[in-house]
């Protein structure tokens, strides 16, 4: 990791980024004004009168927009030729999150004077992480050379959570060290991608070339099958010990996608899916938590006032939103509070349902479109990367965000069983925002074609394995 040399600052304009940021800021300002007007109308005050909300209308948004434009200024001053689309896209998602949090009951969470102000602090922190990494990271040697160290760190973190994690809502996800608490699975997904990028790029030639035949099925070469079985076991153990279906699904899906990106073999992916479904079927019988989730998915209305309450309320919210939505702030007032009427854990697990109610089908499609933009940019960065490690890393980082958004959005819409993971950049929560900031910052840094060339490869296991020359 080399730092930007202060003497070599060559500012370079980023017109596209600026234009996109201006449009995004405009949209968010209009949204904020709508929200304020709706709220005053609802509270019966004459327009213009002060209402006693913890944050003066618009102050939070102004602070957030200032942070975004500040980030833009820093990137201009650094003068690197990097991606100009990711920051505004992610910034717009974060701004929508801020509007949503301002609109929910402030006592839902947060130690810093309410939901919105806490989320504001985390959002600004996330923008700061993106900027720092995008401006300073000029080499990926520290990631590629220590992949086993990272993997060991990740497994250690996971084991620590297994043992010392705090149970919240029946899920053992939160790790508290002194005053700091966080969800390690958020950081784990980044470590997983780094490790897989290192492992797969190192063994790509072998994975493509050799295969063990088992009847009609082509398996990966046996010595290289072991890590895959380990991944599968890891995912299932997360389900059993942490009861965290979302993280397990995310990790395994990203693993299979990267395996496909690396080898181009659909059979590996099919095999992985079969193994996952088989494992899931066994877990359905053994683990009651899994059974509950699947039963709710099959028929939430059977337990509409019990276990299925959350999902049923979310479906109602989407239905109320219709095509154009009820407008920001005009959803059900008790949304997010305890029954009756609201969706429990709305700010973390169901932000899409609230946005579906207030922005409608059109708004939800725009938000999903923003996630697609993140994926497209990441895959473009991967396609133009100089070597395999960087390509797999960039693809993995963008897919992590995309797959996570898909899993929770599909869960909200009852397309797949609901799993409690966060919607990147929109859900409330510091671990999620900071880690996703790390992911986007890395993507922007990797998009620079002028970064340090990859370090000379170390001697690889397996390169000595050469083929016989054909017929003499």
């Amino acid at each position: 990791m080399t730092l930007a040399a202060g003497s070599r600052l060559h500012p370079r304009l980023r017109r596209r980024e600026l234009a996109l940021l201006v449009i995004g800021a405009l949209a968010l300002t209009v949204g904020s004004v709508t929200l304020a007007l709706t709220r005053r109308l609802a509270s019966g005050d004459p327009p213009g009168a002060e209402t006693g909300f913890p944050l003066a209308d618009g102050a939070a948004l102004a602070a957030y927009l200032a942070a975004l434009f500040g980030a833009h200024a820093v990137l201009v001053l650094t003068g690197r030729r990097t991606d100009q689309v990711l920051l505004p896209t992610v910034g717009l998602l974060g701004g929508i999150s801020l509007l949503l949090m301002e609109r929910l009951p402030q006592d839902l969470a947060g130690g810093l004077g309410g939901l919105a102000s806490t989320q504001l602090v985390w959002l600004i922190g996330s923008v700061a992480v993106i900027t720092t990494i995008a401006a300073l990271i000029r080499s990926d040697a520290w990631l590629r050379l220590y992949k086993y160290t990272w993997a060991a760190f990740g497994v250690g973190l996971l084991l620590l959570t297994f043992v010392a994690g705090r149970e919240v809502n029946g899920q053992r996800l939160t790790l508290a060290i002194g005053p700091f608490s966080g969800q390690p699975s958020e950081l784990l997904k980044v470590i997983l991608v780094v490790f897989l990028a290192g492992y797969l790029s190192e063994n790509r030639a072998l994975l493509v070339e050799q295969s063990t035949r088992l009847g009609p099925i082509r398996l990966p070469p046996l010595p290289y099958l072991a890590p895959m079985v380990a991944m599968w076991a890891l995912a299932l153990s997360i389900v059993v010990v942490q009861r965290d279906l979302g993280a397990a699904l995310l990790f395994f899906a990203v693993f299979l996608l990267l395996l496909y990106v690396t080898t181009g073999r659909a059979s590996f992916v099919a095999l992985g899916l079969v193994a996952f479904v088989a494992g899931g079927a066994v877990l359905y019988e053994i683990v009651p938590h899994v059974r509950t989730r699947v039963d709710i998915w099959v028929d939430p209305f059977a337990t509409a006032s019990g276990a299925g309450y959350q999902v049923v309320q979310a479906l109602h919210a989407f239905a109320r939103g219709g095509i154009l939505g009820t407008g920001l702030g005009a959803g059900l007032p008790e949304v997010g509070s305890l029954p009756p009427g609201g969706i429990p854990a709305l700010h973390t697990d169901f932000p899409l349902a609230a946005l579906g109610e207030e922005l409608g089908l059109i708004g939800v499609m725009a938000i999903l479109g923003l996630y697609l933009v993140v994926i497209e940019r990441g895959l473009r960065i991967a396609a133009s990367a100089a070597d395999d490690f960087r390509a797999i890393l960039a693809a993995g980082l963008s897919l992590v965000i995309g797959v996570q958004a898909f899993i929770i959005a599909a869960g909200n819409l009852k397309l797949i069983p609901l799993t409690g993971i966060t919607l990147p950049f929109i859900s409330y929560g510091g671990s999620s925002l900071l880690t996703n900031g790390l992911v986007v910052g890395l993507l922007i840094a990797l998009s620079d074609r002028g970064v340090e060339p990859p370090p000379p490869p170390t001697a690889r296991r397996g390169i000595r394995r050469v083929f016989d020359r054909g017929a003499p």
């Binding site: 007007l37 790509r204 072998l206």
Partner: protein, 145 residues
């Protein structure tokens, strides 16, 4: 209709419209990038970057765009002429098959090395790997897109 209600209505729609304006602008940028990538001389399968070349031919820092079959050696008929006293006339050949690059040593006197290991016959090489023929070191890189 109450002007406040009406203005809220309009602002709501403006908000959604602005979201789509943002998306539209992004998509235009993405399409322009894609077209620019498509316009570039296509069919480049990889590039070979010269890291060290004591003889000066090929020059250090030069980057060769690779065809599916690229031969290397001292003979002038090679795709890439390697003018080095330890390189053979017909030294090695790089081929692209499936989605992988292979290097084959054509029975050179001093051998071909991948990341410091001698190649015996044909070996698969990955992007980022270093080739050495005589004193000339080259790195295989992915095509610029």
């Amino acid at each position: 209709m109450d002007p406040v209600v009406l203005s809220i209505w309009i602002l709501r729609l403006v908000f959604l419209a602005l979201l789509y304006w943002f998306l539209w602008t992004v998509v235009r940028i993405l399409l322009r990038d894609l077209r620019a990538a498509a316009r570039e001389p296509g069919a480049e399968l990889g590039r070979l970057l010269v890291l060290a070349s004591p003889g000066g031919e090929p020059a250090v820092g030069a980057a060769f765009s690779l065809d599916a079959v690229t031969t290397l050696g001292r003979d002038v008929n090679n795709t890439i002429v390697v003018d080095d006293e330890f390189a053979s006339g017909s030294h090695a050949v790089l081929t692209y098959r499936g989605r992988t690059w292979y290097v084959e040593d054509l029975g050179s006197t001093n051998g071909t090395f991948v990341n410091g290991h001698p190649v015996d016959g044909i070996a698969a090489i990955a992007f980022g790997d270093e080739l050495q023929l005589g004193n000339v070191r080259l790195r295989l890189e992915r095509a610029r897109r």
